[in-house]
Amino acid sequence: MNPRAVWAIYKMEMARAFRTVLQSIVSPVISTSLYFVVFGSAIGSRITEIDGISYGAFIVPGLIMLSLLTQSISNASFAIYFPKFVGSIYELLSAPVSYLEIIIAYVGGAATKSIILGLIILGTASLFVPLTIEHPFWMLSFLVLTAVTFSLFGFIIGIWAKSFEQLQLVPLLIITPLTFLGGSFYSIDMLPGTWRTVTLFNPVLYLVSGFRWSFYGKSDVSIGISLGMTVVFLLICIAIVAWIFRTGYRLRN
């Protein structure tokens, strides 16, 4: 093991976040507040309650998930894409570090940032609506598991991407629609039958549902399935990363 290298990369990644504190922290906080104003106040005044939870409080877990997913992906994909783009990745590739160490450092850095962000959004939200967290352990577990999984997914995108356009493509065309349609802002019970079935194929539903359960003890799908699906997605990402590193795909060719 080369723990010093892991620490060096992790520290560098965290330093990058603090250098761009406006972009990393402030902008998600502002956009979350805007969601509250638009969804919470404007729409919430008409919906009032879902499953006995006020609409404003209902959307908090979904909003955190939304930021967690997009930020994990963009943090991790950018962290590995940028050195590839400017060429400074030569140093990482020539260093005595294993693939596992590279992953731990980069994914760890990206996940840490989005977890901090998630907690900040949680704090911001508590200023707008009264919040209860029934299962704090599971809340944190979902937070960490999701941050790690999607940072890993972002890492894969960063390695795959050959241009900044491709780097934006997956988050924009796949992740954003999936999060909006994954029950962040509504319960899937509110959907007509066919759409309800379609939504069950959306992996984000399980994340949001499980996360919301940890807050209010109520969920669209059972907590076991939520957890299971999250772990399955994590395993898929791990498998892809293992393949990338075994073949040197887009890194050492």
């Binding site: 080369n2 010093r4 290298a5 620490w7 060096a8 990369i9 520290k11 560098m12 330093a15 990058r16 250098r19 940028f82 050195p83 400017v86 060429g87 400074s88 030569y90 140093e91 990482l92 590739l93 020539s94 260093a95 005595p96 570090v97 294993s98 040197g248 050492r252 060719n253």
Partner: protein
Amino acid sequence: MPSIISISGVTKTYATGFKALKEINLDIERGEIFALLGPNGAGKTTLISIVCGIVNRSSGTVSVDGHDISRDYRAARSLIGLVPQELTIDAFESVWATVNYSRGLFGKPANHAFVEKVLRDLSLWDKKDAKAITLSGGMKRRLMIAKALSHEPRVLFLDEPTAGVDVELRQDMWAMVRRLREDGVTIILTTHYIEEAEAMADRVGVINRGEIVLVEDKVQLMRTLGRKRLLLELRSPLATIPETLSRYALELSPDGDRLTYTYDNQSERPGVASLLRDLETAGVQFRDIDTQNSSLEEIFVNLVRKGA
């Protein structure tokens, strides 16, 4: 003592089908300065990248100080410092942060005194808090070298280190290379400035179209392949070269003042001693005499042209 780098049967075929390296066998001796010469696209950078672990080889084996670069990559890579050709640095990091990062990346414990020494040796200490993006091209190059030296490598690769570098930095750099060599660091450099290879290197390897065309001790190389020129400044100008000297294929300068005789150690052409005797017999008198060795550049151009 076994060689510090041993490359055997290494090939590289890119996904496009381009064969960048064909069956490379090369041994680098411990503590030497080895110059790898070759035209653009010959495979120099690909070869270096394979040894450093940046590019996967298609076949063959490479070992660094006895450590296989795949099976025992940690030991192999921690011995190597690389200064690549392109100026590629994380633009937003400070000099101090990025050099310490490099040291950590290679698994060395933090040592601020050592990093300070490296920065001072490269005249970068004043810039330690500057962001890389604000540095001039020459300063960026120094920073790349500082990063490569930060983890105290035993083998240093310099890929075209002096391309686009001013005279002062170039001299600093060669002074640094000499110091490193005195500390026992092995240095492998690629360069287009052949006079530098000539001045610095112990051995020279020529690579062309993915093949090692020649590896030779530099002095030996210049001796065996080098042509010599004998220049004779004549006392009085000649209109034509006398018949009796025709077998020497002499060249007469346009003003008739100077005769040039080109010869090499392998040729069948008669030697200098007999030429001088025959000149005297023919009554040609000269006031000065000079010999010139051909440069590595000429040798290189000849070799590469032959391979084309």
